[in-house]
């Protein structure tokens, strides 16, 4: 079977392609990119006026399966990912049971193979049960198919244990993704510590709770000369610390999430629990710094931290509400609207941060349209405008603070392994 995507603006970081081309898919692989490809015998998608990108790769999401299927499962989560233009997603291990052993990794991979709309890559735990006490069997996890390890949602509190985790994981060449939070400093805070927390009478989480831990990871990474990846960077000083470390040659990469460049702590006004997330939404100054970090390359990756929660876990008192927001179906539009449209980054940079770099971090052969590679493709119309309506999300959960927002960037097609799963904006 041949599929021809005609006349779209094709961007590929690896090969440097950035222009109007036809793209041919044959037997699930990219067969060629050039002009005037003969459509004879091809199924044709007209991509005139649209961008044709390597399928988006999310380095950080929560599919909640196994254990919390009432929030999301692999089927609903990957439907949501496909709708948002993601063709590969890496899911965090805070499942029940925790993804800290081979059997859970295998369960996720099997279920994804049978029910998944997109490729799913499990991330294993750093420590057994995410308890921060003993190392998980990282070697076994890697060979079962885990693409990174992380205790996401919790920090590895012990510096000594983190040092050992980095040393041990480096032996298997598997990325460590660190959730940076000094939980002693964060105490029982529920939003950013600042003027808004004072106004709302809510306990604050100081920016320093993130920054002190970012500093620790940078120091350990530099000391050991082992790479570290910092998850969901949200503060100005975190960005500055990482920028500085990169200048010194520290092997650090980092990600931020759309909410950290789109929203401030003020989104919590009125006790809106959909704006409750960890790390918390910060100040306008932090948002500006994150945007600058994206622009100058300090921030390598834009990840969703897609964190579905049931309405009953959000329609409660703010302090009792669960942390996190769904993100698959708004990530690309937010990046287009907040970063590309104002001219902060080009579409090519966007592809780098939402496809190429995450694939590289996870060590998976995705994030490129190079001929011969698997045909994972996202076609997006960045001039199409729409109003976010969480009720219509494919995700099982609707906990989004972006409802009602007008955004640019409609996912027109999502093609996974050569097969369209979203076509003309509709999930098939």
């Amino acid at each position: 079977m041949k599929l021809l995507i005609r006349n779209g603006h094709v961007i590929d970081v690896k090969t440097g392609i950035d222009g109007i081309y036809d793209l041919l898919v044959e037997n699930g692989r990219i067969a060629g990119i050039s002009t005037g490809i003969d459509p004879e015998g091809c199924e044709v998608i007209d991509a005139t006026g649209k961008y044709v990108l390597p399928g988006l790769v999310d380095a950080h999401c929560h599919l909640r399966d196994p254990g919390y299927e009432y929030k999301e499962d692999i089927e609903s989560g990957t439907r949501s990912a496909a709708k948002g233009g993601f063709t590969s997603v890496a899911c965090m291990p805070n499942t029940d049971p925790v993804t800290d052993n081979e059997s859970v990794v295998k369960y996720i991979l099997n279920k994804a193979k049978n029910e998944g709309y997109v490729n799913v890559y499990p991330i294993g735990a750093i420590t057994k049960g995410l308890k921060g006490e003993e190392l998980a069997e990282i070697g076994e996890l890697k060979f079962a198919g885990a693409v990174a390890v992380s205790d996401d949602g919790r920090p590895v509190k012990s510096s000594s244990l983190m040092k050992k985790a980095m040393q041990y994981a480096s032996m298997f060449d598997i990325a460590i993704i660190s959730h940076c939070e000094d939980t002693d400093l964060a105490e029982d805070g529920v939003m950013n510590e600042g003027y808004t927390s004072t106004v709302l009478g809510l306990k604050g989480i100081p920016a320093a709770a993130e920054e002190t831990m970012v500093a620790r990871e940078l120091i350990l990474s530099e000391y050991l000369d082992i790479p570290i990846h910092i998850a969901h960077v949200s503060t100005a000083l975190s960005v500055e610390l990482i920028r500085n470390a990169k200048k010194r040659g520290v092997r650090v990469t980092c990600e931020t999430c759309p909410h950290y460049f789109s929203l401030t702590e003020e989104a919590c006004m009125g006790y809106d629990t959909n704006a409750k997330v960890n790390p918390p939404l910060r100040t306008a100054r932090d948002v500006q710094a994150v945007i600058e970090g994206i622009a100058d390359g300090t921030i390598d990756i834009i990840a969703t931290d897609h964190a579905p929660h049931h309405i009953d876990e959000k329609r409660v008192e703010f302090s009792l509400a669960a942390n996190g927001m769904v993100g698959f179906e708004t990530a690309l539009p937010l990046a287009v609207t907040k970063l590309v449209k104002p001219g902060i980054i080009t579409m090519k940079k966007l592809v780098e941060k939402m496809s190429f770099n995450p694939a590289r971090l996870l060590g998976i052969s995705k994030g490129t349209l190079e001929p011969g590679s698997t045909a994972d493709i996202t076609i997006v119309d960045i001039d199409a405008k729409f109003t976010v309506d969480p009720v219509r999300f494919e995700s099982r959960s609707k906990n989004s603070p972006f409802g009602g927002m007008e955004l640019y960037g409609l996912v027109w097609c999502t093609i996974v392994n050569g097969r369209p799963v979203v076509s003309e904006g509709v999930l098939l």
Binding site: E193, G194, Y195, S197, T198, V199, L200, G201, L202, K203, G204, G270, Y271, D312, R315, V316, E317, F318, S319, L320
Partner: protein
Amino acid sequence: MILKSKDLLGLKDMSAEEIEYILDTAKTMKYVLTSNIKRTPHLQGKSIVTLFYENSTRTRLSFELASKYMSASSANINSSGSSVAKGESLIDTGKTIDMMGTDVIVIRHPQSGAPHLLAKHVKASVINAGDGMNEHPTQALLDMFTIREKKGTLKGLKVAIIGDIYHSRVARSNIWGLTKMGAEVSLAGPATLIPPKLEMTGVRVYSTVHEALMDADVVIALRMQLERQKKALFPSIREYSRFFGLDENRLRLAKKDVLIMHPGPVNRGVELSSAVADHDQSAINEQVTNGVAVRMALLYLLTRRGTNEAAD
């Protein structure tokens, strides 16, 4: 005039005119309250439920008596020994109360914003009787009522608030209310108990009690929760009292006719010396009476919303 909102959630979102109106109405209510026959028909046929998720003596009693003095039917729910203890959500509990024909739900809750959540899901008016660290609007209204009664006005007065500002919903409501009414608010307390960026609310924050007290017309001392010591927010009661306790000596920094207030219950010898608590210029006991008057006014104003508006 009518109140804009069906609920009283806080003074943050209330206008100076509305506050003035509530205080004026409370004046009439105090007249009723101090008369020989404490019974008015204002709330005849109205139903008031107090829903308390935290212990309270004076606030709860104050609301209950206020309802009874105005002939309302009233009932209480305690979080222990109710379906709340069985894990029912706030919204479900609220809807249950709502469906029994309740006109006003008075809620106290340990989480900031709980009354706001409840208000969105019930038809009844919701009165915030204290939510977490956020607001305690009826306390601030009774404080402002007391100040206005004693000083004639709030405008231009210097009001010092001393103590644990961070955890204090009384302080927050007073900050919003007093600044709206044109008072100058000065605050002092241990640095660990001052919320961040407090100056942005239009108050002055001092690190010594002396600076805050200087020429004050009114001083409000806050209750020091002794258990904060365990969280290392201050070293000891002894040290707190040494640097922030109000005694007669410190009181001399304020104006001669300074009004002394405290939301109660007082830790004698901690935030106030007994001599100050029992001082001629202490309004601590009168605050309690005024609390009933202010709550009568609020119950009246909220229950008549949407009925007799045209007559105004």
